[in-house]
Amino acid sequence: MGVRPYTVLHNERRGPYCTLTVGGEVEPSEPGQFYMVRGDWGADPLLPRPLSILGEDPAAGTLSFLLKVVGRGSSLLFELEPGHKVTALGPLGRPFPMPPAPGGPPVALVGGGVGVPPLVFLARRLAAERIPYAFLQGARTKDDLLLVEDLAALGTPPLCTTEDGSAGAKGLVTAPLAVALDAGLGAVYACGPEGMLKAVAGMCAGRVPSHLSLEARMGCGYGVCLGCVVPISRGGARVYERVCQEGPVFDGEAVLWE
C-alpha cells in the first residue's frame, strides 16, 4: 500500500493527550489496527510511530488518533497544527475479532491510558451492530480518563476507576471486571499497560476468551524487521510472534508473560 500523505485537520489537546485528526486517502480498517505515523521533521526521529486507530471515515477521507506525549516523536505529533503534513502507513496489524452477532452474552472492553482509543473504535462498531458491551476504564487520576463523553454518546457510559479516587470508583479496573466476569461475559477485549493486560488475562483464563492488544517497540510496522516480537505459546511451543503482523491483538491465553 505504501506510505500516504495526510493533512492535519485538527489537533485537540488536553493535558499530555491530544486527538489528532488527519485527512487524505483512507482505506477501511477494523478496530485494533494501527498506522505508522510520521511528520516531515527530517531524520530526528527517524522512524514512524505506531498509533492505534481511534476512528476513521474512508468516505470522508479522515482518520483520527489519540496520543500521549512520552518522548520526542509523540511531542512532535502533539505540536502539529491544522495544515501540517504527516505521512502514514496503514491500516496495519490484525484487528480485534468481532464477537458473533447479537444475542450472545455481553462483552467487556477494558482499557487504560492510550489503550483506550482502539477500544473506543471497537465500542463504536459494537454499538452500530447492537452488540451489548460494558466499557471499563481504569486510570491513575480523573485527568487520565479518556473519551468519556464520546463513549457515553454511544449509549453505554464507561465504568471508570481511578487509583486516587478522583473520579469513579477508587481502585483498579480489575475490580469491576471481576464483577462483570461473575455476571457472565462472552469475551473480554483489553488494551493498556502490561500489568493490566496480564491481570486481565489471568482473570479470564479458562473462563472466557480474552483479546489483548499488545505494545512493542516497532521498526517497520509491517512485518519485515522482526523487531517487535513477543513470546507466544503456539501449539504448546514457545515462539516469537510479531506484534505488528500476528498482533497487535493476541489471545490472552497464548501470551507468555516473561
Binding site: G2, C225, Y240
Partner: protein, 313 residues
C-alpha cells in the same frame, strides 16, 4: 530518457542497481503489499542458518540519533524450511533474489551454502560474516582476514552459485578482509553490515535492548559505509555493493560514485517501504541530467585526485 540502468556483478545481471537489504525485507514476499519486487534490481533475504534461530529476547530495537540499533538475533526459519516453504514462491518473480546466510562454524557456513546453492530461485548467495566464530573463541569471522579467507574458501567449494561476502565494518583494515574474500574466490563484496553499538536507559539503568549490544544502521552509518566502499573498491577488482543508510537517490549515488555497482536499502524501508522507487527514479534522472548513458558508466566516478591520506582530524 534511455538511461541503461542494468548493472552486472560478475555473472549476475541486475535490472537496476537498487536492492533490498537482508533483514529489512523478510523473505521477500513480505514486502509485496507495499512494493512490487519486480521493479527492483534485487532482494537480499533475511539471514538463514542451517538450524534456524528463534532470535533474541525482546526488546530488540532502539532508535538513536540518525539511526537505530537492532539485535534481532538472526531469527530465521532455517534453510530447509526456507527451501520448502518460501523458495518455490520466489521462482515466479522477475528480480534477483540473494540468500543471505551465516553459521557459527566453517562447517555450518559450508552446509548452508551447499543447500542454498541448489535453489534455482536464487541468483546469488550472500555470506554474513559478522557472526561470532564459536570455534575461535567467539571472535567475529569478519574482523580477521585469515578467518575471512578460510570461511569464504570453504563456501566457494560448496556451491557454484555466485558468492557475495558481506563485510563487517568492525575490521581494523577492511581492505585486508576484502582482499582475503576476493582471494578466496568471492564474486562480489557487500559493504557494510551494522556497527556494534549500545544504548542505556539511564532512568532505569538498563540496556535499551536485551542483548545489550545491537547493530547500528541508518543514516548515521552512511559516511562510514561510503568510506569503506571507496577503500574496498580501490583494493579489489570484484564488484562492490554499497549499503548503510541509503534513503535517497543522492545517498545511492554517493555509494555508486565511490565505487559501488549497486546499493542495498535497509533501514530506510522502515520509514517508507516504497523509497526504492524514488531512489531509482532519482538515479535515472541524475544520469540523464549529467549525460551518463548508463549506471555502469557512473561507477567510481568521484574525482579522485591524490591518493587517500591516512590522517584525519
Amino acid at each position: 530518457m534511455g538511461v541503461d540502468l542494468a548493472v552486472t556483478l560478475g555473472s549476475v545481471r541486475l535490472n537496476n542497481p537498487v536492492m533490498l537489504a537482508s533483514g529489512c525485507c523478510g523473505y521477500g514476499m513480505d514486502m509485496e503489499p507495499h512494493l512490487d519486487l519486480n521493479r527492483l534490481g534485487g532482494v537480499c533475504l533475511k539471514g538463514l542458518s542451517m538450524a534456524g534461530s528463534e532470535g533474541n529476547k525482546p526488546p530488540r530495537i532502539w532508535e538513536t540519533q540518525g539511526g537505530m540499533l537492532n539485535a534481532i538475533g538472526l531469527q530465521n526459519i532455517g534453510v530447509s524450511r526456507f527451501l520448502a516453504e518460501k523458495a518455490p514462491k520466489l521462482r515466479t518473480y522477475g528480480t534477483a533474489f540473494v540468500a543471505n546466510f551465516y553459521g557459527h562454524t566453517v562447517d555450518q557456513y559450508m552446509e548452508a551454502a551447499r543447500a542454498l546453492g541448489e535453489e534455482p530461485a536464487l541468483a546469488a548467495l550472500e555470506m554474513n560474516i559478522s557472526c561470532p566464530n564459536i570455534q575461535e573463541g567467539g571472535i567475529q569471522f569478519g574482523t580477521d582476514p585469515a578467518s575471512v579467507y578460510k570461511v569464504t574458501k570453504a563456501c566457494r567449494g560448496a556451491t557454484k552459485k555466485p558468492l557475495w561476502v558481506k563485510l563487517s565494518p568492525n575490521a581494523a583494515d577492511v581492505a585486508a578482509t576484502a582482499k582475503a574474500a576476493q582471494d578466496a574466490g568471492a564474486d562480489a563484496l557487500t559493504c557494510i553490515n551494522t556497527m556494534p553499538a549500545m544504548a542505556i536507559d539511564v532512568e532505569r539503568r538498563e540496556f535499551r535492548i536485551s542483548n545489550k549490544v545491537g547493530g547500528l544502521s541508518g543514516p548515521a552509518l552512511k559516511p562510514i559505509a561510503v568510506r569503506i566502499v571507496y577503500q574496498v573498491a580501490k583494493a579489489v577488482t570484484i564488484p562492490v555493493v554499497g549499503i548503510g543508510g541509503v534513503a535517497t537517490a543522492a545517498d545511492a549515488l554517493e555509494f555508486i560514485l565511490a565505487g559501488a555497482k549497486a546499493v542495498q536499502v535497509g533501514t530506510a524501508l522502515f520509514v517508507d517501504p516504497q523509497c526504492p522507487y524514488a531512489i531509482l527514479r532519482g538515479i535515472e534522472d541524475y544520469c540523464a541530467r549529467h549525460g551518463f548513458p548508463s549506471v555502469e558508466s557512473l561507477v567510481g566516478q568521484v574525482k579522485d585526485g591524490a591518493p587517500m591520506p591516512k590522517c584525519h582530524e
